[in-house]
């Protein structure tokens, strides 16, 4: 290491006060980033990553936060004692950020051009540079081309909502680069996007770091991303840095127990750590989806006339056997959720028919029998549970509908909680008193309350941390064998699907482009879209990376929508 690092943090202690109570959030955090280095900070939610990031860029709200001790030096200047004006001068020009969600990081009411111009103009004012508007626009266009956006002028005149997620992420990176920062902090770049788009974004970030020589601090919980993006890694747990090392050291020889647990919790795509799931039961068709399609009307004009249709699901044909864990994979907009809603009878199919355990969904939807047959577990337990009612209240609602006697409901609730490994005293708690994993277990218990035979699982773990994800997945596995359940598992996470499902179907633009036994589909993907998906997944080891399917650029471009041009 030569000279002083671009960023040096030492002995940082930060506390938060709320209602007079003080609790320490960061404990003696020290780290450094060298010139041109890519450093990754990993940890689960609540580990203190975001607080660290905010302290560096100067957006930590104080109060409630208090910096108790420590120092942050940027290019030799102490940031924590720097006066406000000098500190503000560095914002965007010395240190800049790319926030996690490109959908939420723009002002929805201003054009992209206006927002970018604001960033340049106020930086100019702080640095006492005078530039004409045309010069600023030229700079904006240059940066947009640099993030590979083909038509800067049209992008500038567009409102954020008119751009796709991938394009917004590119613009967002461009926005951070407008004033040529020396350090870029990226918070979970691309994780809010589809995996194929995420990969493009990671490639772009790597290229920009190479070209500009800036340093990159990458905040993420995704170890696969870290492997593709970082020179050095810091692992954070509960406000402490528990391990640090080069990428090779961390991935090949993790020392700390927490790091090792994190690594083991990530489901593998290929190799020895993959588990094959099988269905031991004799083949017995439980769910039959026959040639099903769903159209949505496009309305427009003065009288909301129907001007066309979008076909969200096209001629889908599926047979799911009793005891299957059937995975339906696909990216956003692929039609997987529409298909699931049709199975649940929430949407009526335009064409075709679905039978579930001999009940025709079209006729049975909404009936008592059907509700007792199929239940759903939603993606985000934080919003699928009613925050104002206790766990017992929420579990009793379906029981009352299923004609349970009042006197037996309490016993049934205890039984359900036991089933999902929650102590009986949780019955009187409110959702906000529970952790994410516990909430999802309550949601599972609620789905199981009427003793269904089929559970539709809509991304049941994607809102959870990876360590908790495994607990929930293990629980679901156990429940399947105990209660003789059939699962329809909807997800975009193919690594998880590899280890959880015995059969999978890949959806692409409303159609099933490929389906089969999980090991076959993953070992020998036929459709180019499946190959594009699999090759985009960030994995943990070189061994796995080597086994990923290879896809030609031309083939890839044929199946993926461009994130670089407006259509």
């Amino acid at each position: 290491m030569t000279g002083e690092p671009i960023l040096g943090i030492s002995g940082l202690d930060i506390s938060f006060t709320s209602y007079g109570q003080k609790s320490q959030i960061l404990h003696d955090v020290s780290m450094h980033i060298d010139q041109g280095e890519r450093v990754s900070l990993i940890g689960q939610s609540g580990s203190g990553k975001t607080v660290t990031m905010r302290t560096i860029i100067g957006t930590l709200p104080m109060p409630p936060a208090i910096i108790e001790r420590g120092s942050i030096r940027f290019e030799g200047t102490e940031l924590l004692t720097l006066d406000k004006r000098a500190r503000n001068r560095l914002k965007g020009t010395g240190i800049s950020i790319v926030l996690q969600d490109p959908m939420l990081s723009f002002n929805p009411l201003l054009t992209i051009g206006r927002q970018m111009d604001d960033v340049v103009r106020f930086a100019d004012i702080r640095l006492n540079i005078s530039r004409r508007r045309a010069d600023r626009t030229a700079r904006i266009h240059e940066v947009l081309r640099n993030v590979q956006l083909a038509d800067p002028e049209r992008i500038c005149s567009a409102y954020p909502m008119m751009l796709s997620g991938g394009m917004r992420q590119r613009v967002l990176i461009g926005m951070a680069l407008l004033n040529s920062p020396r350090l870029l902090i990226a918070d979970e770049p691309g994780t809010a996007l589809d995996v194929t788009t995420q990969q493009e974004i990671l490639v772009l970030l790597n290229r920009l770091v190479d070209e500009t020589g800036m340093s990159l601090m990458l905040i993420t919980h995704n170890l696969g991303v870290v492997r593709e993006m970082a020179d050095r890694v810091y692992v954070m747990e509960r406000g402490r840095i528990v391990e640090t090392g080069t990428r090779a050291e961390i991935f090949n020889n993790p020392q700390h127990g927490y790091t090792r647990r994190l690594m083991e919790a990530v489901p593998s795509l290929y190799g020895s750590r993959v588990t094959d799931v099988t269905n031991e039961r004799a083949e017995d068709a439980m769910i039959k989806v026959r040639d099903i399609s769903k159209d949505f009307p496009l309305r427009s004009g003065l009288f909301n006339r129907q001007v066309g249709i979008t076909r969200a699901v096209k001629d889908v044909e599926l047979t799911i056997n009793r005891g299957d864990i059937f995975g339906i994979a696909g990216e956003s907009g692929s039609g997987k959720t529409t298909l699931a809603k049709m199975m649940l009878g929430l949407f009526d199919a335009t064409d075709g028919a679905i039978t579930m355990d001999k009940l025709n969904v079209h006729d049975a939807a909404g009936s008592r029998d059907f509700r007792k047959l199929v239940q759903i577990v939603y993606q985000n337990p934080g919003s699928s549970l009613n925050p104002k009612r206790t766990v017992a209240d929420q579990l009793s609602v379906p029981l009352i509908f299923a004609d349970f006697d009042r006197s037996t409901i309490a016993a049934r609730i205890r039984e359900l909680l036991e089933l999902v490994d929650l102590p009986a005293r949780y019955a009187s708690m409110y959702p906000h008193e529970l952790s994410g994993g516990q909430k999802q277990r309550v949601a599972i218990a609620r789905a199981l309350s009427v003793d269904p035979k089929i559970l539709v699982l809509d991304e049941p773990t994607s809102a959870l941390d990876v360590l908790i994800q495994n607990v929930v997945i293990d629980l679901l596995q156990r429940l399947r064998s105990e209660l003789d359940l059939t699962y329809v598992f909807i997800s975009h996470d193919l690594s998880l699907m590899r280890n959880f499902c015995n059969r999978v179907a890949i959806m692409f633009r409303g159609e099933i482009c490929e389906q089969g036994e999980t090991p076959d589909v993953f070992a020998n993907p036929q459709h180019p879209y499946t190959r594009a998906l699999l090759s985009a997944i960030p994995v943990l080891t070189d061994e796995e990376a080597a086994q990923k399917p290879i896809i030609e650029a031309s083939e890839r471009n044929a199946v993926l929508l461009s994130t670089t041009t407006l259509n």
Binding site: R54, I57, G58, T59, N88, R89, L90, K91, G92, T93, S96, I97, L99, Q100, D101, L104, S105, F106, N107, P108, L109, L110, D118, V119, F122, A123, R126, Y159, M161, M162, L172, M175, A176, L178, N179, L298, R299, S300, G301, L302, V307
Partner: protein, 340 residues
């Protein structure tokens, strides 16, 4: 934008048509014979029957409705039984005073509530926040007419420079003939004395009328500002070094103003209702005194006319809000256009 406007205007026309039909039908089915009321208890059965024939009350209700709507399309609201003059001209005479009061009220509401809401959000949980909270609570819970009477009492004892009845000092001898609005006509006529006098008269009724809306809109502005302030793009703007002043107004208030503006439009209905009472208390020569008299007299044509005019007010206010929202929030206008 033109498309968006046409669409909004058309749907509001439909609302007005619906209102006209509904109020006409209601007015016809309430018990009591308008002809008998108009002629008084001493009229003979023959006279009543004659008037019924003349008013068309013997026709089936849909024929009456059709005649009424045809007249309405030509700006004819029928004749008032009370004043024996066309309802239209009665209303046009009283309308400017009410319009001026309502306009002043809305301007007062916007210019007080939104800045206070922003302040309360900016100095969240400080004494400023607490004081505005108490003020808004008072504004919401005190009915307009109670406040009107309190203000009147205070003004007659302590703040005598604010007159408590009427619209203008009669000794000033001024006729608002151009727009009917004193504040505008006095400027056109070059009469600053009238302008100032009109403001003095306007002040108390406008305050009484505005208080409830101010309280509500202020709280909504505050919570909208706080909610927007926690969004990611605000943190991003801070991290890119955009000054706090610009963030507060261009980034936060612009986004946060959608909710208070919508509420302001909806509040307009209760504002018109309150205007009736407040005008009465302050003897304001507006449409309210006319409306109250005609309702008591069961002067049906006039009642329908007054309700329709209130409806037009409400619809125009909401159209204005829609246009404002369309300007502020591109999502309002582009969503429709994109699909087209």
């Amino acid at each position: 934008m033109a498309f968006y406007l046409t669409k909004r205007a058309l749907s509001l026309l439909m609302v007005l048509l619906g209102l006209a039909v509904m109020i006409f039908v209601i007015a016809r089915i309430v018990p009591g014979d308008p002809a008998r009321i108009a002629l008084g208890p001493l009229a003979t059965a023959n006279q009543v029957a004659e008037l019924r024939q003349e008013m068309g009350l013997n026709d089936p209700i849909y024929v009456q409705l059709w005649h009424y709507l045809v007249g309405l399309a030509q700006g004819d609201l029928g004749k008032s039984l009370l004043t024996s003059r066309p309802v239209m001209s009665d209303i046009l005479q009283a309308l400017p005073a009410t319009f001026e009061l309502v306009l002043a009220t809305v301007i007062l509401q916007i210019s007080i509530s939104i800045p206070l809401g922003v302040l309360a959000a900016y100095y969240r949980d400080s004494w400023i926040d607490n004081i505005t909270r108490i003020l808004s609570l008072l504004g919401v819970v005190i009915p307009g007419f109670v406040l009107a009477i309190i203000l009147q009492l205070l003004a007659s004892y302590y703040f005598t420079s604010f007159p408590v009845t009427g619209r203008l000092d009669p000794s000033l001898d001024f006729q608002a003939n151009t727009t009917g609005l004193l504040l505008i006509d006095s400027v056109i006529a070059g009469r600053p004395d009238v302008f100032i006098d009109a403001l003095r008269y306007l002040f108390l009724p406008a305050i009484a009328l505005a208080a409830g809306g101010i309280g509500q809109v202020m709280r909504i502005t505050r919570s909208a500002m706080i909610e927007v302030g926690s969004r990611d793009f605000i943190e991003a703007a801070r991290a890119y070094g955009i000054p706090e002043r610009v963030i507060t107004f261009r980034y936060m208030l612009r986004v946060a103003s959608v909710a208070p503006l919508t509420i302001l439009g909806l509040e307009f209905a209760s504002l018109i209702g309150n205007a009736f009472v407040v005008e009465f208390v302050f003897s304001w020569p507006g449409i309210a005194s006319y409306g109250v008299r005609t309702i008591l007299q069961k002067d049906l044509n006039a009642v329908i006319g007054v309700v329709l005019v209130s409806g037009v007010f409400f619809v125009i206010a909401n159209l204005t809000i829609d246009v404002l929202l369309g300007i502020i929030d591109p999502r309002h206008r582009i969503r429709g256009a994109q699909k087209a």
